[in-house]
């Protein structure tokens, strides 16, 4: 940093402006959590941006190593607190694969359904909070009203509103309550009916479009270089979705319903519209799962487990398409009841790193628009 002394009779070399360092966060409303951005500014323009992470590091991976597989679920579902169900799913899929366990069909379909409902919950949160960050207050009330409807069915089945804790190795914790399928269907229909509201309210709004169109364009190369995934990557034209490209659960049988939403522009608006479209796809998938669950023959929803569950020696990598992107668990077991190592690859970590490429050259006023459109959860960054 150069120090300028302004005095009488300054020379031309003294008239240069100096760069200013601006800290955004760790307690900034637009960082929903404790993400800190260290910006170097030249006037209003950002020269360099560095996301400084780790304020919420909880050492989840280390804690996994001293917990058995049921206890791991408790911790694993909360790094990305908006998609608890999807987080649990990766762990149980990894352990089931290690054990060579065949999960009952009803459990597979119910898991797929709940994973999609969870995706809708997570997406609606960002569809509501992103306009809020840009100064539009109304959409979040609509988004929360829709969320509440799905939240109610999730709460009825699992007993939790955020940390569902409903997956178990070998299936689900409990069977569906009577009449739940009908209520879930009504919730899905209700939310589907109100998706156009969000479109009318936000997506078509001229002010919103002016602030997001052409802002923060993320190129396909950068997506690949930084390992960005999920709706953000798809908004830049990267046609990659694990649900289609490496089907897990029942997605292999849902190929006719599953539509991978992509956009070419790669700007904030494209990311937002990807999210809205994905909500609709998820609702379609949820309906398909409900149809299937209503026709499946009666059967169990979980398997009886041994008292002490030990994964055999070996390793596996289970990745799933979480609402925010690719979420992977690398499980190494030495035959103990705890994993020897459980590496967590979370989507937000990679998605946020790309900010150091995306922000330089933009104005401070656009920073919030870009930051908000990266759809991250700080717990998912810091783990």
């Amino acid at each position: 940093m150069t120090e300028a002394t302004v005095g009488v009779g300054i020379g031309a070399d003294q008239l240069d402006t100096t760069d200013m360092v601006l800290n955004i966060g760790p307690q900034h409303p637009s960082t929903h959590g404790v993400l800190r951005l260290r910006l170097v500014l030249d006037g209003e323009r950002i020269i360099t941006a560095e996301p400084i992470i780790g304020y919420m590091h909880r050492g989840a991976e280390k804690l996994f190593e001293v917990r058995d597989y049921r206890q791991i679920l408790v911790l694993a579902n909360r790094h990305d607190w908006l998609s608890a169900f999807a987080n649990e799913l990766g762990v149980v899929l990894a352990v089931e694969r290690m054990l060579g366990m065949e999960v009952p069909e009803r459990a597979v379909w119910a898991r797929t359904l709940l994973a999609e409902l969870n995706r809708v919950l997570s997406h609606l949160m960002f569809l509501g909070s992103y306009p809020l960050e840009l100064g539009a207050i109304t959409p979040i009330f609509h988004a929360f009203r829709d969320r509440e409807e799905i939240q109610a069915v999730m709460e009825e089945i699992s007993g939790g509103r955020m940390h569902f804790m409903f997956n178990r190795v070998g299936g689900l914790k409990e069977d569906l309550p009577a009449g739940w399928l009908g209520r879930a269907r009504a919730a899905v229909a209700g939310v589907r009916g109100r998706v156009p509201v969000l479109r009318d309210l936000v997506h078509g709004n001229e002010i919103f479009r002016a602030r997001t169109k052409g802002v923060g364009v993320l190129s396909r190369e950068t997506v690949h270089a930084y390992g960005v995934s999920g709706p953000i990557a798809r908004a830049s034209g990267v046609d990659f979705d694990l649900r289609r490209d490496e089907p897990y659960l029942a997605y292999g049988e849902l190929t006719d319903v599953l539509r991978v939403v992509t956009r070419e522009e790669g700007d904030c608006l494209a990311r937002f519209s990807c999210l809205i479209d994905q909500v609709e796809v998820s609702l379609d998938l949820a309906d398909a799962c409900l149809d299937r669950l209503e026709t499946l023959p009666p059967g169990p929803i979980n398997l009886r487990l041994p008292k002490v569950l030990k994964a055999p020696e070996g390793h596996t990598y289970a990745w799933t398409e979480n609402p925010l992107g690719v979420n992977g668990y690398y499980l190494v077991s030495r035959g103990e009841k705890t994993p020897w190592r459980l590496k967590l690859r979370s989507a937000s970590f990679n998605n946020v790193q790309v900010l150091s490429e995306l922000l330089p050259g933009t104005l401070v006023a656009d920073m919030v628009a870009i930051l908000g459109s990266m759809f991250f959860v700080v717990g998912d960054i810091d783990k």
Binding site: R67, R70, Q71, L73, V74, L75, R106, T138, H142, R145, E148, A152, E155, E156, I157, S158, G159, G160, H163, M165, K173, E174, D175, L176, P177, A178, G179, W180, L181, V197, D200, L201, V202, G204, N205, E206, I207, R209, L293, L296, P297, P298, G299, P300, I301
Partner: protein, 195 residues
């Protein structure tokens, strides 16, 4: 998107106007209590009479927030010549809800049905120490535990039901075999009934 400038804004305002005419969906919480589903994980209640101090819940808890103290008591032998028995007596059972992660593992592992989830949630305080609730409070919460919801028609029968049905069938079979030897036709239980 649109030709006429401001059409998008007008559309948004139309949504707002339409919403204005509809009833609000919010609930005035302290006056209107939420209707929570029976599975809601609000608080953990202890059915003290069922607890045998096996310590499974305390051991399985991922963050060790259950505190149990007990002592052994000698139950004198009932008949002469029999051995005296010892029995565990629960002195303290406390759950620190400041630490609890509400995962429900303790409820799940309890082999004697002593722990239950209750949807009760109004126990917030401004003192973190006051969140450690002792066994008498936990026992009180037992009164708020709802019956579990009936399961989906395609669900597997709960193992308790299946076991009761099996036992009833067994009894009925025994009864049938005994009947030729001069037993009254109306036996103790309706065999094979809805156990």
């Amino acid at each position: 998107m649109s030709r006429i400038p401001g059409a998008g804004l007008a559309k948004g305002l139309a949504v707002t106007l339409k919403t204005m005419t509809k009833r609000s969906v919010t609930q005035g919480y302290p006056e209107v209590l939420p209707e929570l589903p029976p599975r809601s994980r609000g608080v953990i209640a202890l059915f003290e009479e069922n607890c045998t101090v096996c310590m499974l819940c305390a051991r399985e808890c991922p963050d060790w927030c259950i505190y149990i103290d007990s002592h052994k008591e000698v139950v004198p032998a009932k008949e002469p010549g029999a051995r005296d028995r010892t029995r565990n007596v629960l002195d303290r059972f406390a759950i620190d809800f400041a630490l609890c992660m509400y995962c429900g593992i303790c409820v799940e592992v309890c082999p004697f049905d002593a722990l239950f989830w209750s949807p009760e949630f109004e126990y917030a305080t401004d003192d973190i120490q006051a969140l450690t609730h002792e066994k008498d409070t936990l026992r009180e919460w037992m009164w708020t535990v709802p019956a579990p919801p009936p399961l989906d028609e395609r669900a597997e029968e709960p193992k308790e039901l299946a076991m009761a049905r099996r036992n009833a069938a067994k009894l009925a079979k025994e009864l049938e075999q005994e009947q030729p030897q001069g037993r009254e036709p109306n036996g103790p239980a309706s065999p094979g009934g809805d156990a």
